[in-house]
């Protein structure tokens, strides 16, 4: 399989969102668990919206603006259970045009 260059930002740019400024609906419980205890950090490649990025110090940064509300990050973090996941407030978040 040939690997194609893909930028997740370009895909997310097609979508409609109403971002709940300052009230992210997903968060990391303890930053140090990601940085110090988690070795594989699968969230940084499993999230379909690329919301999780690897920091230079080995930590993980979560930016929820492009979140598709699938729930994958919560489920794959089964070893550390470090993802606090709830739905956005009613009316906020992804607004699918086609779904």
């Amino acid at each position: 399989m040939t690997t194609t260059q893909v930028k997740i930002e370009e895909k997310l740019f097609q979508n409609r969102y109403r971002v709940d400024e300052g009230r992210p609906h997903v968060s990391l419980r303890k930053a140090e668990v990601c940085r110090d205890e988690c070795t594989d950090k699968v969230c940084t490649h499993c999230c379909p919206a690329g919301c999780y990025t690897l920091d230079a110090d080995g930590g993980v940064t979560l930016t929820t603006d492009g979140c598709l509300e699938c729930g994958t990050c919560r489920i794959i973090c089964s070893d550390h259970q470090n993802v606090e996941w709830w739905y956005p407030r009613g009316g906020y978040g992804i607004l699918f045009k086609f779904g």
Partner: protein
Amino acid sequence: MSEYFDAIVVGAGPAGNAAAYTLAKGGLSVLQIERGETPGSKNVQGAILYSDALERIIPDFREDAPLERPILEQRLWVLDDASYIGSTYRSEEFKKGPPNRYTIIRAEFDRWFSSKVQEAGALVICETTVTQLLRDPAGKVVGVRTDRTDGDIHADVVVLADGVNSLLAQRAGFHGELQPKDVALAVKEVLFLSPQVIEDRFNVGEDEGVVIEMMGKITQGMIGTGFLYTNRESLTIGVGCMVSSFKEGGIPPYQLLEDMKNHPAIRPLLRDSEAKEYAAHLIPEGGYKSVPQLYGDGWVMVGDAAGLVNAVHREGSNLAMTSGRLAAETIIELKSESCPMDARYLTEYKRRLDGSFVMADLKKYKDVPDTLHARPQLFTTYPELMSRAAMHMLHVDGTDKKSKQRQIFREFREQRGLLGAASDAYKMWRALR
């Protein structure tokens, strides 16, 4: 809001809408709560609508439901990196009588279904997230709390149709967290093209559509499948793999989708299309063995929340609608007989579900998930072997056919061994029979 309802339905997808519609038609006072801006704005599906499940709820749905294309042709492709080997079934018989399957666009379809729910008399409130179930001291569910001010609402029974993540039931302790091996992550894009181009490219007429289901190296060794559906003026292309596979595989889902779109057999079908949306969604594919407790004191669970998906046949929304209808019919009967909405009476819902195709199909395929997890070679080795076998037989080079057959047999033996191949075939037969 201090009103009291006969029933509260959480969620406005196929299961919730089927339940709310049936309950309202049955004369109950119904409140349906949806977190999206409109019903459908949080919902994702391939999407194929199976008429039968909806006909049993709204017999004349074809009069005004937003349907894309009835399916005339079904293709199954097994792909390796450079080829596909496939089967196609197309029949004019599909055109006799009302169509059995359609492609749909869920945002539009769910909005339509919700309009029917409202016409039937249910109160539907959107942009409202249910945050927890209200329980009485004995533990019975007596209502819901929402994220609105003064957001507690009470009812005799709560229908949990909140979808695959099903966090309300999880927080209430009705079931545990989804396991990575029991759930698939699918990503998809909607690509716009003119209807004329779609019809020419897929060899169909104005009101005809094609489904292509795919498996093989497009999932790059992970357990999963891909699909391509024709809508009226768009294509839907997607790929889904078990979350446990993504966890091990290290390939981002959007990379997998992009690589699939660039497969030499797929790329020409998408040429010059315009992408207008990228979506992701979980599908509960654990099957029969992972279905949780479906009822309790004051509550029932339906649809994806209950894990009712037939992954082998790519069916889910029909199981969702059927479970929603059966739950609602049970509640209506209990209400008419003045029975309390307790587990000992709501067990009738489970009995009806067990007696329907929903649980019968899940039971038939109960061993498929374990069988696939144990045999990743089905997604890589076999597609390559099948492609090579076809190439050997079709490439005319002066070698006699018997020698070519021997060569094919040798390659199968080298890759999987006689016992391995026989065991794969036997186990798959056992799981699917």
